[in-house]
């Protein structure tokens, strides 16, 4: 009886110590779920979800504080993938209008070189200096539209990216329905 208690108690102590040590030693600093959610988010950093960037939104989703259908650039596909990752039913995403990919373009004749748009760009995709013409790097622009409101002369507008030979996609095959009788 006593020996059994000692053996089991001892085992419990040893295993507890091992677990305690492992918890400290192999601690995961960041929540891996946040990284996974962040990987699905489109990284436009547009703030349309109400959070200052994709990472904060990912953190909020991971904590269960934000619904997963607040990201218009990610679209219905993004919501579906988030739902799959989190193991929840995808909520209705019909309030999200799907916009074609667009990039911001600065009108060179109107820009006064105020640098306000440069400060607002979340991905540093605008090049320029005070009283110098600003230019948006098309390849880096995420189309977040955050540069539009600060511009005092309204010289930035969004241009839809046209498809070219490199980005052209085969269309979904169209079924021809056969008339029956």
């Amino acid at each position: 009886m006593l020996s059994a208690l000692l053996v089991l108690g001892g085992l419990g102590l040893v295993l507890g110590a091992v677990l305690g040590w492992a918890e400290v030693k192999f601690r995961v600093a960041d929540d891996p779920l946040v990284e996974k959610i962040d990987a699905i988010l489109p990284q436009t950093q547009c703030g349309q979800c109400g959070f200052p960037g994709c990472k904060p939104y990912a953190e909020a989703i991971a904590k269960g504080e934000a619904p997963i259908n607040k990201c218009p650039p990610g679209g219905a596909d993004g919501v579906k993938r988030l739902a799959e990752l989190l193991g929840v039913d995808p909520p209705a995403a019909d309030d999200m209008e799907h916009k074609p990919r667009a990039v911001a373009v600065i009108d060179e004749n109107t820009c006064i070189g105020c640098t306000l748009c440069i400060q607002s760009c979340p991905v540093d995709a605008i090049v320029g200096a005070s009283k110098q013409l600003h230019v948006i790097l098309e390849k880096q622009c995420t189309g977040c539209e955050l540069c539009l409101p600060p511009c005092p002369v309204d010289c930035i507008h969004m241009v839809v990216v046209k498809e070219d030979l490199a980005t052209w996609k085969w269309r979904y095959p169209v079924h021809t329905l056969r008339r029956v009788a």
Partner: protein, 545 residues
């Protein structure tokens, strides 16, 4: 011959329709008035235009320089004047326009001086660079820059396979080429063999081309073996031909060079011969024009010649033509605009008619018969890939090795429900590629956003540090003055102290209020006034207002 063949699974026997165009000699296309030369005729980065509207060019002059690693040069097909560098129709399933150099021919066809390349004296690297500049790209259909494929790298290539199978129905351009110019084709292949350091050349040719095989055998050197393979579509697909001839299966996602094999098209070997023996960059190719045209045949076409002109050379399309296919009926695509030019990738223009190509019956539901899997030469399960592609579950489709699909069309051909399976696979592949592009872009955006956040933090910290440093510096300066390093320091300090003392005194002088130090009479008067005020009003703050 005694070589044992290693048949691949599946494959089909479509009507080959080769006789229509294979009878006559290769004809030279007459010089046209206008050529449209796209700058992106190869896989990879488009060439960078070297000319602008108004420039005069000579035949063979480079008009587009290779840009980046996977790219080759583009050359003027004839002499004349550049009238525009602008987007023009291209032979592409999308029908999209792409940047092209439009040349108005002057009719003189003056060429830059073509210098034969003494390839035996050049080292491999500079020879490959020459081929890159001369615009050599694979003429089998993928138009991959040849100079890259001719670099064996670290892998030891023991066998060069010359793909002369030409298994696609209707097309006979390689057949005619080998019948008429077998020696040149094999000379080109010999250069390839040397560059690759391979020991032997294997020529794989379908047994429906006995004349071409005979011509090749007559011209073949000791290290070259011409192997007739049974006519079975798609024996001309690189991986299937490799397996057929050597028994080696190139692993999924792997390169054939890892297995010691490199495959080139016969037409590419001929183009290589032209580049080295004649010094002529790639400005022409042989194209089959067949189907519903008056005089089907093969033409040597300058690259940039509009398809409409090639059709005209073939006597024009006949009554009831219902469009053209670029390439063959199995893997080709619908031509959107006859103004699109012949490029390095175009091996055949096939005019359709409802009689030759009856409309496919409407697709019916998949009955899970498995005919597609039995026909698949890549040993895939097309029906599985189809189900997942149809419902856009691309991850699962990829799990069934979607990217090993060579889009040969065998599955669609045998499907009893007439399901356009390959269309679904192409759709799924391009969707997956788009996702990859989006993923790369979003990773880049994340990296840039994180850097911006970091940069703002850093700037804030730097600013704070700068202020702290400045404050410290001024303090140190004041203290340093006391230390007396400066000979005038003591004097300055004395002046400063005197000034401070004066200021303190002045302040003391000002400090007394005007109610202090007053004569007794005035003080009394003030006290009386205060007393009266207190009596008149209740003691509250309002009286101060």
């Amino acid at each position: 011959m005694s070589r044992t063949l290693h048949p691949f699974n599946g494959g089909i026997h479509p009507d080959d329709h080769k006789a229509e165009s294979s009878a006559g000699l290769i004809q030279a296309m007459p010089l046209l008035a206008r050529y449209v030369v796209p700058l992106s005729q190869h896989i990879g980065a488009p060439a960078r235009p070297l000319v602008t509207a108004g420039d005069t060019v000579l035949k063979g002059q480079m008009i587009g320089a290779p840009e980046g690693y996977v790219s080759v040069g583009v050359h003027a097909p004839t002499s004349g004047r550049v009238i525009a560098v602008e987007p023009r129709p291209t032979p592409h399933p999308s029908g999209l326009y792409d940047l092209a150099v439009v040349i108005e021919a002057d009719g003189e066809d003056r060429a830059v001086e073509f210098q034969p390349v003494p390839w035996r004296e050049l080292d491999a690297s500079s020879l490959r660079n020459r081929l890159r500049e001369m615009g050599l790209a694979g003429l089998g259909g993928a138009v991959f820059p040849s100079y890259i494929k001719l670099n064996p790298g670290r892998s030891a290539v023991h066998t060069l396979i010359l793909n002369a199978a030409e298994c696609e129905p209707w097309i006979t351009c390689d057949d005619r080429l080998m019948r008429e110019r077998a020696a040149q084709v094999l000379e080109g292949a010999e250069v390839m063999r040397t560059l690759l350091g391979a020991a032997a050349i294997l020529v794989g040719i379908e047994d429906n081309k006995p004349e071409a095989a005979q011509a090749l055998r007559a011209a073949a050197a000791a290290n070259t073996e011409v192997v007739a393979v049974p006519t079975l579509y798609p024996s001309g697909a690189a991986k299937q031909l490799t397996r057929l001839l050597t028994g080696i299966e190139v692993p999924s996602g792997g390169r054939s060079t890892d297995a010691g094999i490199q495959v080139f098209n016969a037409g590419t070997a001929y183009a290589l011969w032209r580049a080295l023996a004649l010094g002529e960059p790639m400005i022409s190719r042989i194209v089959t024009c067949t189907g519903h045209v008056a005089r089907p045949g093969n033409w040597e076409v300058r690259l940039g010649a509009p398809v409409a002109d090639l059709l005209a050379a073939a006597g024009g399309t006949l009554e009831g033509c219902s469009g053209e296919i670029v390439g063959g009926p199995m893997m080709g695509f619908e031509l959107m605009d006859r103004a699109a030019p012949v490029t390095k990738a175009v091996n055949c223009i096939l005019a359709k008619s409802p009689a030759l190509f009856p409309a496919k019956p409407a697709a019916l539901p998949c009955i899970r018969c498995g005919a597609c899997a039995r026909a698949c030469p890549a040993d895939l399960q097309p029906f599985e890939m189809y189900w997942f592609s149809r419902v856009r579950d691309f991850g699962k489709a990829q799990g069934y090795s979607l990217f090993d699909c060579i889009e040969c069309g065998c599955c669609s051909h045998v499907c009893p429900s007439h399901i356009p399976l390959v269309d679904y696979f192409r759709f799924a592949k391009s969707e997956i590629w788009e996702r990859e592009r989006d993923k790369t872009a979003s990773d880049e955006a994340r990296r840039r956003h994180e850097f911006k956040t970091f940069r703002l933090e850093r700037e804030k910290k730097e600013k704070a540090e700068k202020f702290a440093k400045a404050a410290e510096a001024s303090k140190a300066k004041a203290e340093g003055a006391g230390a007396g390093d400066d000979p005038d320091a003591a004097k300055k300090k004395a002046i400063l102290e005197a000034a401070l003392a004066r200021a303190a005194k002045a302040r003391e002088g000002v400090t007394p209020k005007n109610t202090e130090n007053l004569p007794p009479a005035v003080q009394r008067e003030i006290a009386e006034i205060d007393a009266r005020r207190e009596q008149a009003e209740p003691p509250s703050d309002v009286n101060h207002g």
